[in-house]
Symmetry: C2
Subunit: 312 residues, 2 copies
């Protein structure tokens, strides 16, 4: 085992290239990669760091997966198909080289899961971060944005809510909770779901839940100039989340509405087109309705409260 | 004046958006940007940091410019036209907000100089770095790569050599040397030149000099399986560089061949097509010939030495 400084940049880059699946048709040794693409490109960049995004108990491979996932999730939420991802890494000089390779391997595994390739990167000395940039194609479709929801639309989400938050507190408190910890450490970018939503033609707005349900709902309300009534009892939550919340004496709402770090898609669609959405063959939960209000509200046992900003 | 922490993320992002020229047709508030594009995409990512790339005397605005320039240079060296650039920034929490805006402004100015737009970004807490990612289109042309040089080709460079290195030592030693310091602090990505080289159809290989002439020559030799004979006396060097080298009692070869941090293009072309290249209307200097050797050699006053790795 050797530190990054001892190994040296040239050898590190060679070793990283051996870990990555080679992307077709791309010269890996030129100044830039040439990525096969058609039409407009969807692109997004997001950084994760050891300090902020790697709780104790998360492996470096999982950290690498997450660095790719947060970016591919942004491509998914636009309804685009990933065509490549890049990683600019800043790593401490005294880091063990195997840790770097674990990060790269996790990053590449997430790219593979999303049916795409790592097409570029950079390794510099830094305090432990990965700045990812993901690219996608819309294939002639319109992007799914935050601004198309209209009053009367149905609100829905993919997957479950609150699991990443519950996983974080489970890890922190030594609680066994495989499902939630998995959700935190190996988040699934909803690429397939985003494509199905886009192809259904039924969706009026969409975004991912990286900052939590409340923050996403606020963003769609703000950009679409609408309100939302979301039914607390409709929210898809696993028993494990409730179990962790009660064991730690935490407000389950904090985990489910305000935490974030999860990568499900929140979307709205026209009631008349619900058949198209079912035909698209994706699993989702209906959680409420778009209103002509200005804010998202959460409704529970007769009470109706504005959803505040997330605490993530 | 307030620190980034005091200002808060939401306000910072709003203020950054006010600084940037708005990119046409791109929703700035969605999960990802939609960038108008046609055909294959050229993409590259590269990070610059305060510690490594901001010598004392360089302004933050210049640092921002440079963060964009290093990435746009990689697009230029492939012969592509920039279609967008992204900045993932990691900045200390106690940084003054105005410094962040200066960096963003410099970044955007370089994008404007290259006739493109900032299409995305991310601001996180970090130790002072900008990870840029630039995108370009080839518009149906083949990419300029490092692997097409053949023995008999002519070797040429755009611009002058050694100025960035000289500028660095001028700054460090308090020597007045505007031209060289300018070359160091506001490097020009050779986008126009790269496009002309690509469109000429004459170029067999090309890369930028970010790691210095020797390193670039070695890369082209290695990828093209050729050698090079480069004539020291042909190299375009300003009097200021020689003046600084002699004042600091430095070997001028170190500055000109081995230093880097400059963004001229090194390229090779077929002798028979020199007319096409002159017709393309760009300024360049012929510096040598491609050989059937395996390494790049530098020739000076009868001596012929292998060019070693750069020291940058």
């Amino acid at each position: 085992m050797a530190s990054l400084k001892e190994v040296g940049e040239r050898t590190l880059v060679d070793n990283i290239r051996k870990i990555l699946r080679p992307a077709k048709g791309i010269g890996p040794r030129d100044d830039a990669a040439v990525v096969p693409s058609e039409g407009d490109v969807v692109v997004s960049t997001d950084t994760v760091s050891f300090k902020r995004h790697k709780p104790e108990g998360m492996t470096y491979e999982q950290f690498g997966w997450m660095a790719a996932a947060v970016n591919l999730s942004d491509i998914a939420s636009m309804g685009a198909r990933p065509i490549g991802i890049l990683a600019a890494m800043g790593m401490p000089e005294d880091l063990d080289e195997d840790i770097l390779y674990d990060i790269v391997s996790g990053f590449d595994q997430c790219a593979e899961f999303c049916n795409t390739f790592v097409v570029g990167g950079d390794t510099k000395v830094g305090d432990g971060y990965v700045s990812g940039t993901a690219l996608g194609n819309l294939e002639g479709r319109k992007p799914l944005t935050r601004s198309g929801a209209v009053p009367g639309d149905i609100i829905a989400v993919t997957g479950n809510l609150g699991s990443a938050a519950a996983g974080y507190y489970a890890l922190k408190n030594g609680i066994e909770a495989d499902e939630s910890i998995f959700a935190l450490c190996i988040p699934v970018p909803r690429v397939k779901e985003g494509l199905k939503l886009s192809m259904s033609g039924a969706v009026t707005s969409c975004m991912d839940l990286s900052d939590g349900l409340a923050e996403a709902a606020r963003a769609i309300c703000s950009e679409s100039h609408v309100g939302m009534d979301i039914q607390m009892e409709f929210l898809p939550v696993t028993p494990e989340v409730d179990d962790i919340a009660s064991r730690l004496n935490m407000d389950r709402r904090e985990l489910i509405l305000y935490w974030g770090g999860e990568y499900e898609l929140l979307f709205t669609f026209s009631k008349e087109k619900i058949a198209e959405l079912y035909k698209a063959g994706l699993a989702f939960s209906i959680i409420g309705m778009v209103t002509n209000d200005r804010d998202p509200y959460i409704l529970e046992e007769g009470a109706r409260e504005v959803m505040r900003h997330g605490s993530y």
